[in-house]
């Protein structure tokens, strides 16, 4: 009953002015961020975060989730028109999207992408809303020790899922957590690593860290690449109706890809970059004519695009339930939630249930909007992919620096943006997971608070983490995740 009334309240909020306006603004900004080379959802959301300060929590989060959704679709525009995916989430779209464009079916491909993105998003968000009553029951089982352990599990999962060395990812995550120890300690008046400076009493602002890691690091990388990205001009020819019909005529691939996306999205650290490849692979595997893939096969675009928007619903599950983001974009979203005083976990499912449903419903409405914009206005967005990156870099740097300073009018935040930006550039260059680092920064204060509170409850004994069945289960999961791959390798070696 509480769920139904919260849903009704959420629907009312959603259609009360100015919330619909923030949905539209978020989607358009997201599509622009997704279509601009080198920008994408995480970066776009990170630089918009400081601007949400004057907004209320509901409108701010609605704006951010709409940007997330819009950017997933926006990424496909560059993938289809210029063979350069705006983000990794649309990488598999290039396989068939670009060949379709070269065959004079660019509009078909963009319409397939819009329809698949929209339906993939709709299906998975609807599923998320339907399973939310079960999710609420699960979340309420978690206490202080379990929340600390979930933070550790989240970081461990990223270590295992991330491309590159798992140890590098763990070090990156722990380093992020370590930096959050700067400032006044939680639950005690101890000043840590402040060097006597008042500016450091409140520690490092995690939004500044997000801006540095996602925006400055990416801009340093982008500035070293050649300006223009358009290799050859693509004419926007084809038919919208044919594209929409094509997408709708493959419901099995559409549904399967959406749920692959949702499942992968729910695993911390994987996200749409992994899911679009997996869905594409699955569509190719189950096809009667796999040889057509890579030569302009619409099924390839459907699989990739349905899965990347499907990932959104999945990645929201650990984010809003346990405060563990499934991807870079959800890490920024989590930052937004915390910045506006919304704590993931029981709070979002009890006192703030209506707020939670508002942004889930905003995603639903947003997906309809994606379809409409994607089908009718996409020819206008195509021009964005031609913008020289050297015009984007200084603009994003300025937005990041000014945004960083705006957070608390504290120069430490600007220093954080710059230093973590350079550190992030090196981390990206040498395959250290910046998602793990960002997760560490965002989760650090929550993890420490839950660790201290747990130990206070147990009188300083660490046994509190293994005495309850649920916490014991999470500890076992952490051990399996951390040592499973090494044990498996040893076993395989012995057997062979």
């Amino acid at each position: 009953m509480a769920t139904v009334s919260a849903l009704a309240e959420a629907a009312q909020t959603l259609f009360t002015w100015p919330t619909p306006m923030w949905i539209a603004i978020g989607l358009v900004l997201g599509m622009i961020a997704g279509a601009l080379p080198g920008v994408g959802s995480s970066l776009g959301m990170a630089i918009i975060l400081p601007l949400t300060l004057p907004l209320g929590p509901v409108n701010a989060i609605v704006l951010l989730v709409s940007m997330y959704s819009g950017a997933m679709y926006g990424g496909s525009i560059a993938a289809i028109l210029v063979n350069v995916p705006g983000t990794g989430a649309a990488a598999a779209t290039t396989f068939d999207g670009y060949p379709m464009s070269k065959q004079g079916r660019a509009v078909d491909a963009l319409s397939i992408s819009a329809t698949s993105s929209s339906l993939g998003g709709l299906l998975t968000v609807l599923t998320l809303i339907l399973i939310s009553p079960i999710l609420i029951e699960v979340v309420l089982l978690f206490g202080t020790p379990e929340y600390f352990l979930m933070a550790v599990l989240g970081l461990s999962m990223i270590g295992v899922v991330a491309h590159g060395s798992a140890v590098k990812a763990l070090v990156a995550g722990a380093f992020g957590m370590l930096l959050t120890a700067i400032g006044i300690a939680p639950n005690s008046p101890e000043l840590r690593y402040t060097f006597g400076s008042l500016s450091l009493y409140d520690g490092i602002d995690f939004i500044a860290a997000l801006i540095g890691m996602f925006a400055i690091a990416e801009m340093i990388k982008l500035s070293a690449q050649r300006g223009g990205i358009a290799a050859e001009g693509i004419e926007l020819t084809g038919n919208v109706v044919t594209g929409v019909k094509e997408a709708l005529s493959h419901p099995v691939t559409l549904v399967k890809s959406s749920f692959i996306g949702m499942f992968i999205g729910a695993v911390p650290g994987s996200g749409a970059t992994v899911s679009n490849f997996l869905s594409y692979g699955e569509a190719m595997r189950s096809s009667n004519a796999p040889e057509r893939f890579g030569n302009g096969e619409p099924l390839g675009v459907i699989a990739s695009e349905a899965s990347n928007n499907g990932t959104i619903g999945g990645s929201l599950i650990p984010t809003i339930s346990f405060g563990i983001p499934g991807s870079g974009s959800t890490a920024v979203l989590l930052g937004g939630l915390l910045m506006h005083g919304l704590r993931p976990g029981p709070q979002l499912f009890e006192t703030e249930l209506a707020t939670t449903y508002t942004f889930l419903l905003a995603l639903l409405v947003g997906n309809v909007f994606i379809f409409l914009v994607g089908v009718f206005l996409v020819t206008k967005l195509g021009g964005l992919t031609q913008i020289d990156t050297h015009y984007i870099v200084p603009t994003i740097v300025v937005l990041s620096m000014v945004g960083g300073y705006t957070l608390r009018t504290n120069w430490i935040d600007v220093a954080t943006v710059v230093s973590l930006g350079i550190l992030g550039y090196l981390m990206v260059k040498y395959n250290y997971s910046i998602i793990a680092f960002v997760l560490g920064v965002v989760l650090g204060p929550i993890a420490e608070e839950n660790l201290i509170r747990s130990l206070q409850l147990s009188g300083g004994s660490y046994s509190i983490f293994v005495t309850e069945p649920l916490s014991l289960l999470i500890v076992i999961l952490i051990l399996v995740v951390l040592f499973g791959p090494a044990v498996k390798e040893q076993l395989e070696r012995r057997l062979t």
Binding site: P54, N187, P394, I422, K429
Partner: protein, 210 residues
Amino acid sequence: MANERKARTDSTVFGEWYRRLTTEVIDQETVLILVMAATSGYMLWGTTQFDIQSAARFPRLTASVVLVGSVLLLVRDFLPEPLRNPLVASGGMFEADEEFAERQEIVESVREAGTSADERAISTVGRPVHDSLFTSLSVIAYAILGYSVGLLWATPLFVVAYGVWFRLRPLYTALLAAIAFGIAYSFMIVLNVPMDGGAFLLTEGVSWLP
């Protein structure tokens, strides 16, 4: 003529010196690991100075993980194989089908090709140092200048420096600088954040600004 030849020789000498410095002397990954190791080492030592022991627990735990992990990464080439493997092996929980993996690798390599090819070259615009190094240094200079004279005034200067370095057309550079100034000014007015004054110059801000 002689001056021009001397300048070219100087530039070649600098180029060679810079190339050797960045390829043979400094390994950026080692620098990154050393930064993490030194920071965690200092913060681990710092926990011994705290008066309240409960406040030391979390930083001690995380600093230990970072310190041990970074030292292991630093010496990975000298470790025996069973210890080295977990340090260099990829996580990769989700593996694609074999027939598809090849295609995925090709696309990923094509996607990264631009980056690596461009980064191998010193500069995409024929400058003597890496573009990424210039951008990093210019962002640092932007922050210092912003602190000294105010972000509002430092913003167009940063954009002009960037435009000149990357040889953007003067008209576009001027337009970008104007847009950037507009962004900073909008933040200042809309969010009521003082950006027109610095720590050393214009300390009271600028009274004639609307």
